[in-house]
């Protein structure tokens, strides 16, 4: 038998053993009962958020192929993510996943998005791979997704998933209590472009509301909406937030003569949401920091927390990563 034939046989055997070693069942976020291997060791996550769940649950070494929010190459990744996973370049995938690629990698568990890559998901399930499907649009969805992922990974990850989900629930409750009697500043959240704003159903809007603000664009439907500067002038936001992946910087808006009439610009309250591992405005565990950071922006001191200590502790406890002074400075911590 030639060498590559032996390899293919081995990979096939590993995969088949993986497929038939299903010892447990979990109910995925879409309510499907999915048989999962006792200890999934080779995971593919064509679901951008799901990849970060795996990191947060301590399963980074089990990721063999991962899709990362907005990343096409490892060089585009933030330094913190590259330090967290030195093997990022070999795992990073983008675009439409390929069932044969997954099979060749000997994958024994797949995390998938319920809407994106639907054809891949259907085919992968038909071929026999255990596929967990996610649709995460709210904080409650995220908490449940973390629990399910923990259960699917088994062992210590199950407790970690549960702890993170509880942390999400506790943080939301603490924020609601701390901001209950306070005014709700009008907030504009802009995405890749300054005039591309978040609609009412988007996670970013939920984030603003949970942190004690009111999104000026909450009345818009759909997804990101292009609006005119005139509309922004009508809204007159008191705070403007730029997404971590925005090409614009707060100083650009503060210097732009067209934007000077806005309350947010006049008072200098234009901020770029940080990103260290994952963007803080997306439904991944880092959104916990997004909540705390935004609450501090909108209602300074109301929570009674030391944000920088929280940022340090979150990365240490969730990812096992010590942040550098430079990374801390990047999120406004001296």
């Amino acid at each position: 038998m030639r060498r590559w034939e032996s390899w293919s046989l081995l990979v096939g055997l590993v995969a088949v053993v993986g497929l038939f070693a299903a010892a447990r069942e979990v109910v995925d976020p879409l309510g499907r009962v999915v048989p999962v291997p006792d200890q999934a060791q080779r995971i593919a996550s064509p679901y951008g958020m799901g990849t970060y769940y795996l990191y947060a649950l301590g399963a980074k070494d089990r990721i063999v192929a991962g899709w990362y929010i907005g990343l096409r190459t490892a060089n585009q990744a933030p330094e913190a993510l590259r330090r967290l996973d030195p093997n990022l370049a070999t795992k990073l995938r983008f675009g439409d996943p390929n069932v044969e690629d997954v099979a060749a990698l000997g994958v024994d568990l797949i995390l998938a998005d319920a809407t994106r890559y639907a054809a891949f998901t259907r085919l992968a399930r038909e071929v026999g791979f255990p596929v967990l499907e996610y649709r995460v649009e709210t904080f409650a969805d995220m908490a449940s997704a973390l629990r399910v992922t923990g259960q699917a990974l088994g062992g210590e990850a199950e407790a970690r998933g549960d702890a993170l989900a509880r942390k999400v629930e506790e943080t939301l409750a603490a924020l609601a209590a701390a901001t209950a009697g306070l005014g709700r500043p009008r907030v504009l959240f802009s995405g890749t472009d300054t005039l591309c704003v978040a609609s009412g159903t988007m996670f970013q809007t939920l984030l603003i509301e949970a942190a004690g603000g009111a999104s000026v664009s909450a009345g818009l439907a759909g997804s990101w909406n292009e609006v005119s500067l005139e509309q922004v002038l009508v809204w007159d936001p008191e705070v403007i937030l730029l997404a971590p992946y925005s090409a614009a910087e707060p100083k650009d808006l503060l210097a732009d003569p067209n934007w000077q009439r806005l309350s947010a610009v006049a008072s200098g309250r234009v901020f770029k949401m940080p990103r260290l591992i994952a963007p803080w405005d997306t439904p991944v565990p880092d959104a916990l920091l997004g909540l705390l950071w935004l609450a501090e922006v909108l209602h300074p001191g109301a929570l009674g927390i030391d944000l920088c200590a929280e940022v340090l502790a979150f990365h240490r406890e969730t990812y096992g990563l010590e942040l550098s002074a430079e990374e801390l400075a990047g999120v406004g911590c001296p």
Binding site: S8, A15, G95, D96, D101, D113, Y117, A118, S223
Partner: protein
């Protein structure tokens, strides 16, 4: 016929079969010929069998069918419209189908993409025939109304992409528009085959008469073919094939434009020979390109992108030959 050309004609019929078998041997998952045969016998009980039966076979059949449809309709339309620069996209059916697929993705129902694309493609054909019934079915009217129908559906598609979620829905729409056969399953093939097979057979059966459509209506009438009836019939059958193809593969350009020219170089411009030759060449082309699309990189390469990258240089080569014959190029 020269010996070289006769040899080429024989090759034309063997090529799709060879490409079909060859494409079963190629993929990201390493399968030797022996394990392929073993998988063939095992069905989907083993991983190798699953890869062969559930991943490669339906996809190869889809590539063959879509390629044959695009090649044949390209040749058909070039003849019917007496224009060597038209292909299956000229009548707006692709744009119609693209709108339906994008709409299905927008409303969050990926399972409805194929049906949405097909129905919306049919709506485009319906609109075209309705306009034809009003303004006549001359080649000029068909091309103009086709372009208008295409522009209308392109605008609707623009509207859908404008309101789509840029993180999830928009990439799905974009990838669909770029064309590809990733994730094709047996179930997806049934409606395509149900429409394509009778459509292909009908056009192949009528291929002798199709030659007459490239004449004027009066000349065709003198030779016993009522072009006013036969032309919309041929166009409707062709657009049905395109609609069925686009519904499964997304937008795949260039195959329908280039393949008939290559076919013409081998079998001449007699539609009776050109139609089956273009179908065979189209199937071969798409089988080969799809094998590259799913094997070259860990992720899928959009098939429409590959056909463009291969198609444009091929078109330039065809143009050079064409101009040379007219003595306009060195």
């Amino acid at each position: 016929m020269s010996r070289r050309r006769a040899w080429l004609v024989h090759l034309l019929w063997i090529a799709p079969l060879a490409a079909f078998v060859g494409s079963l041997l190629v993929g990201r998952y390493p399968l030797s010929f022996a394990s392929l045969l073993q998988g063939l016998g095992e069905g989907s009980t083993s991983l190798a069998g699953s890869i062969l039966w559930r991943v490669r076979l339906p996809r190869a059949i889809a590539a063959g069918l879509v390629g044959a449809n695009l090649g044949l309709t390209g040749a058909l339309f070039q003849g019917v419209f007496r224009n060597p620069l038209v292909d299956s996209r000229i009548l707006g059916v692709s744009s119609g189908a693209a709108f339906g697929a994008a709409l299905a993705l927008l409303v969050g129902s990926p399972a409805a993409v194929q049906g949405g694309a097909f129905l919306s493609g049919l709506a485009a054909v319906g609109l075209l025939l309705l306009l034809g019934a009003r303004f006549g079915f001359s080649p000029l009217v068909l091309v103009v109304t086709g372009v208008l129908v295409g522009a209308f559906f392109s605008s609707l598609l623009g509207l859908v992409t404008y309101v789509a979620d840029p993180l999830r829905t928009l990439p799905a729409i974009t990838f669909w528009l770029l064309g590809g056969l990733g994730g094709t399953r047996w179930g997806d093939l049934v409606p395509v085959a149900a429409v394509s097979t009778p459509g292909l057979l009908l056009l192949l059966a009528l291929r002798w008469r199709l030659n007459l459509l490239s004449l004027s209506d009066a000349e065709a009438g003198a030779l016993g073919v009522n072009a006013k009836v036969f032309r919309p019939l041929a166009v409707a059958a062709g657009t049905l094939l395109v609609s069925a193809s686009v519904s499964i593969s997304g937008m795949i350009g260039w195959v329908g434009l280039i393949v008939p020219h290559v076919g013409r170089a081998i079998v001449g411009s007699d539609q009776a020979k050109l139609l089956p030759a273009s179908a065979a060449l189209g199937a071969t082309t798409l089988l080969v390109l799809d094998a590259i699309a799913r094997s070259a990189l860990p992720g899928e390469i959009p098939l429409g992108v590959l056909t463009g990258i291969v198609g444009v240089p091929a078109f330039l080569a065809v143009l050079r030959v064409f101009l040379r014959r007219r003595g306009e190029a060195r």
